[in-house]
């Protein structure tokens, strides 16, 4: 904690609380940092070229040691449990963000469509799970005759209580469908217009979730849906704090941790297959030059919709598990900032790189979740980091080999960009 306090004090500077004094101090710091970089590097790095190769190795280091990493993933929570449940609860939240980052990476990294409303998919998945695994739908029937939901459904409470084996894929599918619905009207848009429209869709989703308690109470408005069922397999409830394995108590977060770990492995497997398939190469072509891709005979419309749908699917699944583990979902949890946080993760890791998305989510996630008392300061740091990264290191820390090549080519000769037909076969 003292390190954090020292950091806060350092940024605040020695000149008191006047905003201008703080600004002056921080400008001084920035200037000094600039000068040091200049002295060391000779000139200010615009888009770093030399370290790129090293970084490419970084990604392959991750890939080569994937089994060791998997082992760490398997045993990490057990070590964390020695210190209690807090670190595990944080790790679990980060896992969900890993899923989100891998999903957003498909849209932003592979296909080059900047989606600033990714939280919408997360929300759709969470609400699908919340509605079909809680008393909420039964509550609706008490007020209206629009729906006929009988009390005779399995479970201790009335309402739908569908198994997670059905619901989690269903939530993913609903979010994927939502992705296609968002995708259709935005197909013609490119770049920044697309970004702002997706941002709009993200906000619209939240506003609807907040207001669909009238005239029929579907989402329960700002209160959100509570009493959401935990994931249950057979008679084993993930949410039951009294589960035991021999003498060891199994906390709910541990159950969810392994469930999400399994999903992450599945997702990474599927997505890396996708990346190397014809579809993945076509996505890359769209990212590099949509017009050229179209001329080359790629059905850009369907492929862009597919990117939205697959990104949405993984976001929706993450949302469903979030709802199950959280016991309550409310519109406030689906703010624009979630989209931005996931974007920071993807950019930091390296757009288009799966190891990058995973590692980016882990690093940024830990920084974010372990500092709740720095509510605004951490956002300030992330905002600054985003600018710095995109200027000094646009390929991220663990770029994919392919993306790295593209950036190098661009650096050397802009005319090559249009001529690059995509990855080498």
């Amino acid at each position: 904690m003292s390190f954090v306090d020292a950091f806060v004090a350092f940024l605040h500077g020695p000149f008191g609380n006047n905003p201008f004094a703080i600004l002056a101090w921080q400008a001084l710091l920035a200037g000094a940092a600039y000068l040091i970089v200049r002295l060391v590097r000779g000139r200010v790095p615009r888009q770093a070229t030399a370290p790129v190769r090293l970084a490419g190795k970084g990604a392959s280091v991750v890939l080569r040691n994937r089994y060791a990493l998997l082992l760490i993933g398997l045993f990490l929570p057990l070590i964390e449990l020695l210190t209690g449940g807090y670190l595990l609860s944080v790790t679990y939240s980060i896992e969900l963000y890993v899923l989100l980052a891998v999903g957003l990476n498909i849209v932003v990294g592979f296909t080059g469509l900047l989606d600033l409303g990714y939280v919408a998919f997360f929300a759709v998945g969470a609400y699908v799970y919340g509605l079909f695994a809680s008393p909420q739908l039964y509550e609706i029937t008490k007020q209206t005759t629009y729906f006929l939901v009988s009390q005779s459904v399995v479970g201790p409470q009335p309402g739908f209580h569908i198994s997670m084996l059905v619901l989690i894929p269903l939530a993913g599918a609903a979010a994927a469908l939502f992705g296609v619905l968002i995708g259709i009207p935005t197909l013609r848009l490119r770049g920044d217009y697309l970004a702002i429209v997706t941002l709009g869709f993200g906000e619209i989703t939240r506003i609807f979730a907040n207001n669909l308690d009238q005239p029929i109470n579907i989402t329960n408005g700002p209160n959100g849906i509570i009493n959401i069922d935990p994931v249950t397999i057979g008679s084993y409830s993930f949410g039951n704090p009294a589960n035991h394995l021999g003498p060891f108590q199994i906390p709910p977060f541990l159950n969810y941790y392994y469930l999400v770990l399994l999903l992450i492995l599945l997702t990474v497997f599927i997505v890396s297959r996708l990346e190397r398939s014809r579809v993945g190469r076509a996505w890359a072509a769209i990212r590099e030059d949509e017009t050229a891709a179209q001329v080359a005979g790629i059905n850009t419309r369907n492929l862009k919709l597919l990117a939205y749908a697959s990104g949405g699917f993984f976001g929706g699944m993450a949302g469903a598990i979030y709802a199950a583990g959280q016991h309550l979902i409310a519109p406030d949890s689906f703010q624009l900032f979630v989209s931005i946080l996931v974007l920071v993760m993807v950019v930091a890791g390296g757009m288009g790189s799966i190891p990058g998305a995973v590692v980016g989510a882990i690093v940024v996630g830990f920084l974010y979740f372990l500092s709740p008392s720095l509510l605004y300061l951490r956002i300030l740091v992330f905002g600054g980091l985003l600018v710095l990264l995109i200027i000094v290191r646009p390929q991220g820390f663990l770029p994919s080999a392919q993306r790295e090549r593209e950036l190098e080519e661009k650096e050397e000769d802009p005319s090559l960009v249009a001529a690059t037909p995509g990855p080498a076969p």
Binding site: R188, D192, I196, I204, N211, Y376
Partner: protein, 323 residues
Amino acid sequence: MQRCLDLLTSGLTPEGILQQLINGVTLGSVYALIALGYSMVYGVLELINFAHGDVFMIGTFVVLGVTGQFGLTGTSSLALVIPVLLLAMIAAMALCAVLGFTIEKVAYRPLRRAPRLAPLISAIGVSFFLEAWIATYVSSRDHTLPNLLAGDIPLYADVTIRYVQVLMLVSSVVMMVGLQQLVRRTSLGRGMRAVAQDREAAELMGVNMDRVISFTFIIGSALAGVAAVLWMLNYSTNQTIGFIAGLKAFTAAVIGGIGNIPGAMLGGFLLGLAESLGAAYISNASCGIFSSAYEDVFAFAFLILMLVFRPSGIMRERVSQRA
């Protein structure tokens, strides 16, 4: 069904509609001023300057700071209020201009040849940085000014228009006309138009592109400073208003035809009216299904519809290949 028809007509009174029009135009005039900044930058750089709304937000805090220094209250005499407000405006314009200039230099200029998404992501970073900076080092709470320049002109029945609202309307139109003249008549304006049309050709023809772009940011940001004064005369501020006002203003710029100066103004007024009338009558029009809580959806829905069906905006200036 009868209930719906009754509902549809129940809230419609001439006083109500007139008042809603005034509300909408008031809001729209601020949107319009911020939209000018978006429109100019987009016209020249083809970049959505996400941080523009936050520059405006910082302007509102400058206004708060200046008026706070002079201890203005609702009962202060005009002889004090007007000079202080002018001073606040100059300070806000100057600080916003410096800020806009710095943002361009630090966060956008190094990315001029980078892939398309890079400057946009950088802009988002700047926006969140500025918001968090204000929340950390200035205030994360809401603030208002006392009721300055009170007084109104009666219009019809009990509907009045306040002096502040007249001031807002007039100053936004004046700014728009001034800007239009600047772009049309000065050499700087010529430079802007040249860069907007073809960046490389303009550079080859001897236009100092860096200078033109810097000036675009300075002028756009200074206008946000003016908007900040007008905003504070009527509304409240906190560190998040910039992002929302910015999104609305961007929408206004798109509606009017991005890159088009009178268009940005027109878009601002249209959006302000759509929000006011929408929030007021949506419940009646939809038979109670939607309520006034959907106010923010109108702007986004308007934006999406516009981009999908008429991406070049109402006042089509030039065909943008991006949308």
